[in-house]
Symmetry: C2
Subunit: 241 residues, 2 copies
Amino acid sequence: MPSPLIRKLENFEKLSKTEKQAILAVSTMVRAIGRGKIILREGDEPRKAVLIVKGLACRYKLLPDGGRQITDILVPGDLCDGRLPLVHEMDHSVGTLSACDVADIDRKMLLAIAQKHPRITRALSWTSLAGEATLREWVANVGRRPADKRVAFLLCELIARINAIQRARTGGLQLPLGQIDLADAAALSIVHTNRILHRLREKKLVAVERRSITVADAEGLMEFAEFDPSYLYPNRKGART
Amino acid sequence: MPSPLIRKLENFEKLSKTEKQAILAVSTMVRAIGRGKIILREGDEPRKAVLIVKGLACRYKLLPDGGRQITDILVPGDLCDGRLPLVHEMDHSVGTLSACDVADIDRKMLLAIAQKHPRITRALSWTSLAGEATLREWVANVGRRPADKRVAFLLCELIARINAIQRARTGGLQLPLGQIDLADAAALSIVHTNRILHRLREKKLVAVERRSITVADAEGLMEFAEFDPSYLYPNRKGART
DNA sequence: CGCGGTATTGACACTATTCAACATCAGTGG
DNA sequence: CCACTGATGTTGAATAGTGTCAATACCGCG
């Protein structure tokens, strides 16, 4: 499988063979991580950039009362520590939601590549913009949507983002996502998340198994959630309805 | 008053006289805007960067059901359209929460300055990182905090950010903020926001007037909200508790 | 002076949380 | 290979927290 990072960047900027090669060259150090593991901890100073190659991960914050709020889900092609040219202290943690393959990327090498290939830099800037837009969408989602649409919205975003880096999708898409994690992302209790999922299942929009949710009717789910994916592509004009 | 943008950037990078001059030179076109006006509309392609010089503004999204979710509050020194080197379509709107003075900054000029002065570019990158961290904090705040701490948290962030660009603070800080706007930021109903404010007033933490909230006891409010401002300064190490 | 936006208050409905008990599954070690 | 065990999922009932509705008060502005 080609690097999902290339797939992701090419959604924003067409890359030359040389540029793709350069990206491939830095993302060779792939290692497997189990589910529920911590990749980066709040307060850490990340030494290397970590690329999600396979599986799902998330950014999250722990609250004083022990609660956890997931602020972003990472799909293959996503980099853990957002902006590259700067070292900093993590304001949040990153952990896996499923078993993952990740690639460790040396920050200096990544920076060197970015400086050599302006198109890559620009593509990375786009991903950063998309990331910010996604966060705003999450604030609105968590703050103002009713629970059922909120959960549906999250699932819609996930399949949209995964589809953007995986071609040739056929039928439903299975997400390796447990209900506890879904609850922490939707800012709902586990019990309520469970009930909402059952409701979505009754509407034939999703199928639920242990630690996996299959989107059965992506069209219907998007309609139900009133999902407009244009925020994921800040470079495309007029995509907005 | 010196440019609040300089104040803000100097929280991240010490700037030379030349650099300050350069910033001052591009932010001369100041104009006044009334309260409740739209500065940038979702879907627009912003032609110029807009700097808040005085007053409060906000980013917000409108939802299909007519609701409004504020995703970020802009204080003096903040730029409306986040990232500079890129033109794009707004995924959200920007509007004023109080009467404001804003400066229109030509994007090309700003870009030219950034290219000439790496320290300015770096400072802008820091502000961008801080902005992302703030958004994550908002997701956690709106998603997981009880209503009273949520409102308190918002007020704490506001005074922290305003204090960062205004020296010589004495006593309580008055925020020109109506309850409707506060409700849209906290993701609460107007009625409930009103009751929460009364509760905070009973605790002698704030004073409420028409379209203005005065933080009477900043220390107490921060303690009550469990507010840790370190996310606002991603460049400072070890600030985290 | 009247009008519209804002703030306030009470009653009520509803959504979501909590608690608790139980079912189920996957992994582990004996 | 099986039994144990801890994590996950499921369900019902009681409760707390918020939202909605509606009526009123208030203020600034035209």
